[in-house]
């Protein structure tokens, strides 16, 4: 796989940092890979955005900061507008389908994912980030699924585990449907 630079960004409360943390933990603790995460926030105390820049790599990572991600995940229009121009050519943008109105960008693949709608269908709106996790990892194969599942079992409160595991499965299905229908 080499190295993937992910920029996850959305509104505070969208589970962006948790998503980054789960990917990083799965990679380092359960998959023997390297990962690093650098966090950023908007200045607002409420209603601001939060950003997690995550690098997942097979090799030690010298420098954790990057400007141009390979993959951007954005869950709001504001953060999409802020970041869509930074995705490198040949990169991918995954956006929340019902909250983001994308603009055409040459050389970048853009995919809308109904993360919130799916999470609400599952029965836990807060699991939208885990829907995205299922989608993202099926598409990119960042870490072995087993490592992700182990991380979810360790990190998520028992009460919410089943719903989150379902959200994860739904995310996978969304990718499968997309890859069947898309190309």
């Amino acid at each position: 796989m080499g190295e993937v630079k992910l920029r996850l960004i959305g509104a505070g409360g969208h589970g962006i940092l948790t998503l980054g943390n789960i990917i990083g933990t799965a990679a380092t603790v359960h998959a023997g890979k390297e990962a690093v995460m650098v966090i950023g926030y908007s200045p607002a105390q409420r209603g601001g955005w939060s950003r997690a820049d995550v690098i997942v790599s097979d090799e030690p990572i010298d420098y954790p900061i990057f400007k141009y991600p390979d993959v951007l995940v954005s869950t709001t229009q504001e953060t999409y507008d802020l970041e869509h121009d930074n995705v490198r050519k040949g990169g991918i943008i995954i956006y929340e389908q019902d909250l983001v109105d994308p603009v055409p960008i040459e050389g970048v693949t853009q995919i809308g994912v109904p993360a919130f709608k799916t999470a609400i269908k599952v029965g836990l709106r807060l699991s939208a980030n885990i829907v995205l996790l299922g989608f993202l990892n099926s598409m990119l194969n960042l870490v072995p699924e087993e490592a992700l599942l182990k991380t979810l079992h360790q990190r998520i409160k028992r009460k919410y585990l089943d719903l989150n595991l379902r959200a994860y499965e739904e995310g996978k299905k969304l990718w499968e449907a997309h890859s069947r229908g898309g190309e």
């Binding site: 943390n21 990083g24 380092t28 603790v29 390297e34 690093v36 995460m37 650098v38 010298d62 900061i65």
Partner: protein
């Protein structure tokens, strides 16, 4: 013994949190602090973790109270630390001198942000390098570590405790906002493999004990309540701890305070080198900047330039003897740092007129990107 301590294993952990877990494993059981960005994760986690290992956390009224509480705890026999950032570090300066003068071991974590003054609370800086050494009045020596990863926030915090308690000095963990707040793999080794240093205790009966016995470089330390008579003062004091204006005593005391570190600099000093063997230009960088410099140095090598990286892991003592080898080979030096040229002064102090010493300064707020460092490397590369 290791109940409540972080178990050996692999973690994906924030630098500031790794600092806490390292401190607890090193034996820290007291923390006093006052909130300040970007060091708050240290205090926040300490407030939760210390009670779990039988320790005490206290939020003080300010940073002056915090460092004083830490010194009190250490004199009471407990390993103690505080954490802060630039403005709080400034407030602690007088008491860091008190720690040096009273030979009270303490660990002070400074997660550097942009300065001067309140500067850039949430953003990176490396401008406290000189303050760490010269910030308090009078003559003394400190040790300051320069972590560049969450792993080193763990490892070097443990070393900071060991060094502080071995030499009875204040020791500073000079981190920065990026290293403190970034999240990365941290490996916690089996606890029995981690070296932990305890203070040297008095071996003589109480009536023969002198708390600042100058026959030792580092006198054994009794603590309040053990039955030994102790007197602790910031005034110039004799072997018994009593104030005096005797020049003979002053000479003995102050020279011993600096000798503790100066005579042991090669034992204490640490550094790391990459592809320096035949380097014609050695880049010197520390903390988060060293990781950008590492990328730049690798790229430069790919382009056929003989460039290496020398990374001090201790600012104080600065590992000049290790850098000297490259100076003697004739390698030029480029110092890259997020300040207006602090470490480069130290390099010049040791090697001025021997080789070309270049400086790349960078205002606080961001880390100089690898491309910018690479451009500077090309600009100053010897031809």
């Amino acid at each position: 013994m290791s109940q409540g301590l972080l178990k050996p294993g692999v973690y994906f952990m924030r630098g500031n949190h790794a600092c806490v877990e390292g401190a607890l494993i090193a034996g820290c059981r007291f923390f006093a602090g006052y909130p300040i960005t970007p060091s708050n994760e240290v205090s926040a986690l300490m407030s939760r973790r210390l009670p779990q290992v039988g320790g005490y956390f206290i939020q003080m009224e300010d940073e002056i109270g915090s460092i004083m509480a830490v010194l009190g705890a250490a004199n009471g026999g407990v390993k103690a630390m505080t954490a802060t950032s630039g403005p709080g570090f400034s407030l602690m300066m007088e008491s860091i001198g008190l720690a040096a003068m009273t030979e009270t071991p303490a660990v002070i974590v400074d997660v550097q942000r942009g300065g001067p003054s309140t500067g850039l609370p949430t953003l990176v800086g490396q401008g406290d390098l000189m303050q760490a050494k010269w910030g308090s009045h009078g003559d003394y020596e400190v040790v300051a570590y320069l972590p560049n990863s969450p792993q080193e926030m763990f490892d070097l915090t443990i070393k900071a405790f060991n060094t502080a308690w071995a030499y009875r000095i204040p020791v500073i963990v000079l981190a920065d906002q990026v290293v403190g707040q970034m999240i990365e793999k941290v490996v916690v080794p089996p606890h029995e493999e981690i070296e932990i240093v305890e203070r040297k205790r008095p071996e003589v009966p109480p009536d023969m004990f002198k708390p600042f016995d100058s026959k030792y470089l580092v006198p054994p330390m009794a603590v309040a309540g053990e039955g030994y008579r102790i007197h602790v003062t910031g005034l110039t004091h004799d072997d018994r701890g009593y104030p005096t204006t005797s020049h003979e005593v002053s000479q003995k005391l102050v020279s011993r305070l600096v000798r503790k570190v100066r005579e042991n600099e090669k034992l204490i000093g640490e550094w790391e080198e990459h592809q320096t063997d035949d380097a014609e230009l050695v880049v010197v960088a520390f903390g988060i900047t060293s990781r950008s410099a590492m990328r730049a140095v690798r790229e430069a090598k790919r382009e056929g330039l003989k460039v290496g990286l020398f990374r001090p892991k201790t600012a104080w003592p600065f590992p000049h003897w290790a850098l000297r080898k490259h100076v003697e080979r004739g390698a030029d030096i480029l110092v890259v740092e997020i300040n207006m040229g602090q470490m480069v002064r130290v390099v010049k102090e040791h090697f001025a007129n021997l080789v070309k010493i270049h400086s790349m300064t960078w205002a606080p707020g961001t880390v100089p990107p690898p491309e910018t460092i690479l451009a500077k490397i090309k600009e100053v590369y010897p031809r």
